[in-house]
């Protein structure tokens, strides 16, 4: 056994004051995490090492491990830590992980449940199983291999299920001579990929699971590394355990407790929020309201209960309520709908059959549902959206889902328990897909109880259009305003609700206080971006026509809007052509030194590299350009 590390159980306290020990142990926080990443990156070895170092391995188990290592291990005469975790015969024979293993350990600060997940693509469904309940993911990379397809797939899944914290463990540093350059290169590669999928921050640690570097203690082999050892990080990462309690109250009814005629209780586990005796609640989908009479538990009635607790509620009125219903705060109850957009991860060998009826289980509701042909499938290597007619094993895509009766739900982003679902095959009974609801496509007609929330969605539904910003950029005199005007006219004829923002209505009002210095130009664009965003919230199609010369500011405006709602239109007119046109005589003045900071003359124009649309005005008239842009928009909307 290794020498005792002070992070782990303190035998002194246990023998001297067991009650004190138990008391602190009770109140330790708990972190659930997973290891994931590509095949053979060393996930199981790392967990084996953590268990070993945290003294979770008993003498008899250690003896078995040593014997097994010699017999079937991958490390010659040395200990193969993966054998501590790979518990199935097939796994040990093949030296791979097939299914997720749940292991438990504790330090002085925290308790841990770790799910060691398999790297093989074939077993992705088992990786998701582990990921769905984790607070943190340790994504391993073999330092010799760098970022691989499975690294990307797992990272994307981690992001989809909403795991909050990500550790990038660059493993097998012993095999690359503990090279700082290798580490940095991998971190740089990963950073680029991570930001493309929405993982904004992660902690990178160079480790060797086999040799034990930077696992429980900072290693001397990586003097250039200044961050914490992995375990240190795991012990100290912030966990906001009370966040769910601060949301609105929701509890899905699991079971109606009816031991006799005098008692009718509704049993469930509180998903979010808290509930007090006397609170007014609404039962969804019926919409009936009542008040909480009692919160019943075997150890006596409670006055209040919070998210995470399993309770039995009784109400002051005899109202209809059964399994599948949701009891919620009366003033802020969840939505009911029967058509949704969702991200779907396919987990079965039989591909998705659009239109076929499957069971959909969400919370305590189970209904028949069918899936439309996917809007697109995601290529996990570059996040490109691919056209797809179906989803095959391990395919991830976005599709519309329709249920045969309305269900109570919330977007997965808002509430995991009310937005995460599984699909079950009605014939084989297999769990074939996992899904995350984005939003409802239309409110169910047969429910009238809820005052419609007038949100972004409602505004755009009323206008029957998808809001977006058409952001024109180009040199002065390139033709932005002319084309933008034509586009607005065309859209108006098509009954679209639009608004054009340009120099005339912005420079003279909202931005009257701004000049043409670089700083003012930035602020100008920021304000326009914010206004455009508010207008899309109101459901409008916004057209802006400003030079907007800097790439960074256009990027800033893009980032203010949901993905897909910012369409950059680069009006590409060469400087000499624009200068020749010089409709307003501005180039002349600038050349004469009467105008400072004039784009193209003494201030730069940064050409867009990722504009959705590029218009070459030397090849098209303004009207042709407008037609082209509108066609582009409608093709976009048709395809999704």
């Amino acid at each position: 056994m290794t020498t005792q590390d002070p992070k782990f159980k303190t035998d002194a306290l246990i023998s001297e004051d067991i009650d004190a020990y138990l008391e602190t142990h009770q109140h330790k926080s708990m972190l659930r995490f997973i290891t994931c990443g590509s095949v053979d990156d060393g996930k199981s070895t790392l967990i084996g090492r953590l268990l070993y170092d945290s003294k979770m391995i008993f003498e008899d188990q250690l003896a078995t491990l040593e014997a097994d290592s010699k017999k079937i291990g991958t490390q010659g005469q040395n200990i193969d830590f993966a054998l501590l975790v790979d518990g199935l015969a097939a796994e040990r024979e093949q030296g791979i992980t097939i299914d997720v293993a749940y292991r438990f350990f504790a330090t002085e600060k925290r308790k841990f449940i770790v799910a060691d997940t398999p790297g093989h693509e074939q077993y992705t469904r088992n990786m998701i199983t582990g990921a769905s309940t984790a607070d943190l993911a340790v994504i391993l990379i073999d330092a010799r291999q760098g970022v691989l397809t499975q690294t990307r797939r797992h990272s994307y899944l981690v992001q989809l299920v909403g795991i909050e914290h990500v550790v990038l463990a660059v493993n097998k540093m012993d095999l690359v001579g503990y090279s700082e350059d290798t580490f940095k290169q991998i971190v740089a590669d990963y950073t680029e990929f991570a930001s493309s999928i929405g993982i904004d921050s992660f902690t990178a640690i160079p480790i060797s699971g086999l040799a034990g570097d930077n696992i429980t203690q900072v290693s001397k082999s990586t003097p250039w590394y200044e961050g914490p050892a992995l375990l240190d990080y795991l012990e100290n990462v912030d966990l906001v355990v009370t966040r769910d309690q601060e949301k609105s109250f929701r509890m899905a009814v699991q079971w109606v407790n009816r031991p006799n005629l005098d008692f009718r209780g509704f049993s469930g586990q509180i998903a979010t929020g808290s509930v007090k005796v006397g609170d007014t609640v609404r039962v969804i989908p019926s919409g009936k309201t009542s008040r909480i009479a009692r919160i019943v538990t075997m150890s006596g009635d409670l006055t209040e209960a919070v998210a995470g607790q399993s309770v039995t509620l009784t109400l002051t009125d005899e109202i209809d309520c059964s399994r599948g219903d949701v009891i919620a705060t009366a003033e802020d109850a969840p939505e009911v709908a029967d058509q949704f957009e969702a991200t779907i991860v396919w987990m079965d060998d039989e591909p998705l059959l659009p239109g076929r009826s499957y069971w959909l289980k969400i919370g305590t509701q189970m209904v028949s549902a069918h899936v439309q042909p996917p809007k697109y499938q995601v290529n996990v290597n570059n996040m490109a959206h691919l056209a797809a007619k179906t989803l095959e094993l391990n395919g991830i895509g976005v599709a519309e889902v329709a249920t045969d009766k309305p269900i109570v739900f919330e977007p997965y982003d808002v509430n995991r328990e009310m937005g995460g679902f599984i699909l079950i095959d009605k014939i084989t009974n297999a769990t074939i897909a996992a899904g995350m609801l984005h939003f409802s496509l239309r409110r169910s007609k047969n429910v009238h109880w809820q005052a419609i929330e007038v949100d972004r969605e409602a505004h755009s539904q009323l206008k029957n259009q998808k809001p977006l910003v058409l952001w024109f950029t180009g040199l002065s005199g390139s033709g932005k305003s002319t084309i933008a005007n034509e586009v607005e006219k065309l859209l108006y004829i098509m009954n679209r609700h639009t608004f054009l923002l340009d120099g005339d209505n912005v420079r003279h009002g909202l931005n009257r206080d701004l000049g043409f210095t670089d700083a003012d130009r930035v602020e100008n664009i920021r304000r326009i971006g914010e206004v455009a965003k508010l207008m899309t919230d109101a459901g409008l199609i916004v057209i802006t026509a400003f030079i907007s010369p800097f790439r960074a500011e256009r990027q800033m405006a893009r980032a203010m809007l949901p993905e897909g709602e910012f369409v950059e239109v680069f009006v590409d007119t060469p400087l000499d052509v624009a200068e020749q046109r010089d409709v307003k005589g501005l180039y002349k003045k600038a050349r004469a030194g009467e105008l400072n900071n004039f784009t193209g003359i003494d201030s730069p124009y940064e050409t867009p590299s990722n504009a959705e649309i590029r218009i070459n005005t030397t090849e098209m008239s303004a009207k042709e350009a407008a037609r082209y842009i509108v066609d582009w928009l409608f093709n976009l909307n048709d395809s999704d």
Partner: protein
Amino acid sequence: MNLTHLERLEAESIQIMREVVAESENPVMLYSVGKDSAAMLHVARKAFFPAPPPFPLLHVDTTWKFKDMYALREKAAKDAGMQMLVYKNPEAVDAH
């Protein structure tokens, strides 16, 4: 309000047991008289309180148990208001 570790584990186990009752036709709880069975039975009582757990207990009895264990087996079922089924040998199954 911070739930303790055991409060959270208990809540999770209760949720699981209620799912079982809601989604199965004829559930049973295996009872071995050991400490894990004792804890599990206790959680079950909490899950369905004030009703008794809506399933019977089943003890597969090798008849090679300690005397103390038989005594507790009868008492635990009685306290919980549950039926204790004892399966003794392939021929005889009796209810206590």
